[in-house]
Amino acid sequence: MSSAALDITDLSHQFGRRRALDQVSLVVPRGNFTALLGVNGAGKTTLFSLITRLYDNRSGRIRVAGHDLRQNPAQALARLGVVFQSRALDADLTVRQNLSYHASLHGIGRHQAKGRIAQVLDQVGLSQRAGDRITALSGGQQRRAEIARALIHRPDILLLDEATVGLDVKSRAEVLALTRALIADHGVSVLWATHIMDEIHPSDDLVILHEGRVLRQGRAGDIAGQAGLTRTFLDLTGVSA
């Protein structure tokens, strides 16, 4: 079995004639925070769509916790927890009902799900809001509920696509701190897609994605060097500040 939580090799994808991803290869080690940095349109969401098998990859290979996504999608998807860029909770239902629904989509029975729902809500600090409808929660609380949903089947790796977009500074910090705590406390691996450089620590693994290609991969502090991450990113991508 691969030691990586996520291992992507030579992944390409096109929408019509437009190439959205071009020979992307990256590795997310187990128990690690890996930031996927790129401007809007860099290909982050397309990459997430392929990893979560919303589309099939036609070229390249995706392995989740050692399971090939094309050959063994059930095993691979069972090990993925996902927080999408756009809200994916059912606004008509309560937090608990949303989590219960998600648990059933992973084949987790009601009795077992009940215990896990209590556990994950405690982890994200929403135990008191379990009976509230999603619409009654703030943006930050909804994001935490989404993280709880993504954790309920105990995935090996958590994918978060621009999870802090639209949140105020306090909520952003809370969501990021919660995610980092999950790595420390539960050993889950994280792939964190973002375009906000402040969210990346020098000790994090970093993948810079631009126009569908990986430009740099390694320790964030090493990539940033003396110039700093912002300057390095702008120089690499040619994006003006």
Partner: protein, 273 residues
């Protein structure tokens, strides 16, 4: 890490979870239930009363004698409930796709055909509750088929509901935005309903136009109506049964194809799955 292969119980859990979600949404949207009920009742109480005076009905199978227009139109209204429910499910799929909730379903490790089938069956269960509520009210309006007909119609309702729901699923994969749904109303629901045997027998159609009669005769909705009509009077319309089963396979196969991550349109164009 534990073994994640799914035992049979897990499949049942997933199906029940999807069914529970559909039911909860239905319960939470009380207006939807009322609208689903008011629509056929208006047709039964007002439209049928008006038409009764102008539309004479000769003996038409499965009826053994002359029947009131209200009696004739009731199976068509049952199918109408299911048609609108199927379209409501389709609308809900497009809405889920726009809001992102669809992704929760599609990233489940269960096969996509199973997820779509579960959603389809759950929607049909909701429509059957609506139909039986309608039939119970219609009973007080002197629409009283044989008592065993209420049981015999259940498999017919399941099949017709599945066919119309599968058509909704198929359409939902092709509709890009909620705004386009008005087009579905104009180009799918209304033509299907009016060009069918729901409101008038096909022989009446032939008197007006042979072409219109032929269109009605090949309309799958006509066969859903006739399947229900015959079952309600303890008979089987084999032609309609065959057409409904064939269309169910066709529409569901099309929906599975369209939602397949490697084959369907979703894979070929950029958009929210």
């Amino acid at each position: 890490m534990t073994d994640r292969a799914f035992p049979p119980r897990a499949w049942l859990t997933a199906f029940l979870g999807i069914a529970r979600r559909e039911t909860l949404r239905f319960v939470n949207q009380r207006g939807r239930f009322l609208a689903a009920l008011v629509r056929p009742l208006v047709w039964l109480f007002i439209f049928a009363a008006g038409f009764r005076a102008v539309l004479g009905l000769s003996i038409t199978p499965p009826y053994q004698t002359y029947v009131l227009y209200e009696v004739y139109v009731t199976p068509g209204l049952c199918a109408m409930i299911q048609l609108f429910n199927g379209m409501q499910s389709s609308l809900s799929m497009v809405h889920d796709r726009e809001t992102g909730a669809m992704r929760t379903l599609l990233v489940s490790p269960f096969p996509r055909w199973f997820l779509l089938a579960s959603k389809l069956v759950a929607g049909v269960l909701v429509s059957i509750i609506q139909v039986y509520t309608f039939l119970a009210i219609a009973w007080f309006w002197d629409v009283q088929p044989p008592i065993w007909g209420y049981l015999a119609v259940l498999p017919a309702l399941i099949l017709s509901g599945m066919m119309l729901g599968a058509m909704g699923l198929f359409l939902s994969s092709a509709i890009r935005q909620l705004e386009n749904f008005a087009g579905v109303m104009n180009f799918v629901i209304f033509p299907m309903f009016f060009a069918s045997s729901a409101l008038y027998p096909l022989w009446r159609m032939r008197e007006s136009s042979t072409l219109l009669h032929d269109i009605c005769a090949v309309n799958p909705f006509t066969h859903a109506v006739e399947l229900i009509r015959f079952a309600l009077y303890l008979q089987v319309n084999w032609l309609s049964l065959g057409v409904v089963l064939g269309c169910l396979a066709l529409f569901f196969g099309g929906a599975v194809f369209m939602y397949d991550p490697s084959k369907g349109l979703l894979a070929r164009r950029r958009g929210k799955p």
